[in-house]
């Protein structure tokens, strides 16, 4: 099943985001071994060089480290993963607030809408 990649943004960035998401969501756990470049490229239906580029980017940010002979692993640094998670949350919340403000809601209204919705879910 090829990954669902959209067509107007660089492919390697989308792969980076996808793997980050898999790390945050726990599909890949700290210390897990990542599939090989070629296997994952075949799964995603992308070029292996593009996958390699995505892996290099993940290594650069420290989320993934490579061991010369055995392969690539997810970082065991849980603070780093947590940081990534909160950053992503902040990003999404900022997007959401911008959208709500476009709809004409004030910050207070947004807050009460959120808490109402969450209460609704809880009941």
């Amino acid at each position: 099943m090829p990954w669902n990649l959209n067509s107007d943004r660089p492919i390697f960035l989308q792969i980076v985001e996808r793997i980050q998401m898999d790390i945050i969501s726990g599909k890949y756990k700290p210390g897990d071994k990542l599939p090989s470049v070629r296997d994952l490229a075949a799964e995603a239906a992308v070029n292996p060089n593009t996958m390699q580029k995505a892996f290099s980017e993940l290594e650069r940010t420290g989320l993934v480290y490579s061991q010369r002979t055995t392969g690539r692993f997810i970082t065991e640094d849980t603070t780093l993963i947590y940081e990534l998670k909160t950053n992503l949350a902040k990003e999404k919340i900022t997007e959401f607030i911008a959208l709500m403000q476009q709809l004409g809601f004030s910050k207070e209204e947004i807050l009460s809408l959120i808490s109402d919705t969450m209460k609704g879910e809880a009941s």
Binding site: S7, D8, P10, V46, N47, T50
Partner: protein, 232 residues
């Protein structure tokens, strides 16, 4: 690493018509390159010169630092844009023929792929649909352990579901050090597996760029850029 293909001022004329007009380019190992251009832009002419089926009118063309010839054909696996196999033969006969013909042909790989695509090796080519014939040809070409695969319109006659599988076949069967040159109009379908694209128009190179650079700089897909550049 030295280039796999190196051409300088390459020109091919058919009488008064110039099909390839002073093209210079080099192709490195380990890349998947899309050769994209409108009809009649010179894609197939260029490909035929790479495979020694046409001789250049002028300019130079080298494969691994040697001129195109018997030696280069041992290392280039070529999928032409038309069918050249004997329609009366069974797939298994053709596989035996290819094995005889090409030192680098891997029989097991061919049978593996046939099985995955549910093609019976005992079937004769003439009993197959157009798409299935194309699949068989692609399997034959990808079963060689070549340094360069040149695929002229590999997925044109194949249904969208099988296209995904064929791309998978291409991705999982080429040698890591090898390069693949794919000529096609179906850009959107293969865009994700390309490293680089070469836009060719009226026999000249309009643009060479990496897919991700195009997306990053233009904010659009290669397919969208192609439609814009070659707008009629």
């Amino acid at each position: 690493m030295s280039a796999l293909i190196e051409c300088k001022d390459l020109t091919k004329s058919y009488g008064k018509k110039t099909a390839i007009d002073h093209i210079s380019l080099s192709i490195e190992g380990g890349h998947i390159i899309g050769l994209l251009g409108p009809n009649g832009s010179g894609k197939t002419t260029l490909i035929k010169m790479l495979n020694g089926l046409l001789t250049p009118t002028s300019g130079s063309l080298y494969f691994q630092e040697n001129p195109i010839g018997a030696e280069s054909k041992k290392h280039i696996s070529y999928l032409p844009d038309h069918n050249y196999l004997n329609m009366n033969q069974r797939v298994s006969d053709i596989i035996a023929f290819f094995k005889d013909f090409y030192e680098d042909f891997d029989e097991n790989r061919a049978y593996d792929m046939l099985e995955k695509l549910q093609i019976n090796p005992r079937d004769r080519l003439k009993s197959m649909s157009k798409g299935t014939k194309e699949k068989v040809q692609l399997i034959l070409v990808m079963s060689r352990r070549a340094d360069l695969y040149v695929l002229d319109e590999p997925i044109a006659g194949v249904d969208p579901a099988a296209r995904d599988y064929i791309l998978d076949v291409i991705l999982s069967n080429y040698e890591p050090e090898a390069s693949i040159l794919i000529s096609t109009h179906l850009i959107a379908d293969i865009e994700n597996i390309l490293d680089e694209v070469i836009f060719i128009q009226n026999g000249t190179i309009r643009l060479t760029a990496s897919v991700d650079d195009i997306r990053a700089n233009e904010g659009k897909s290669v397919d969208a850029l192609f439609r814009e550049v070659f707008k009629c």
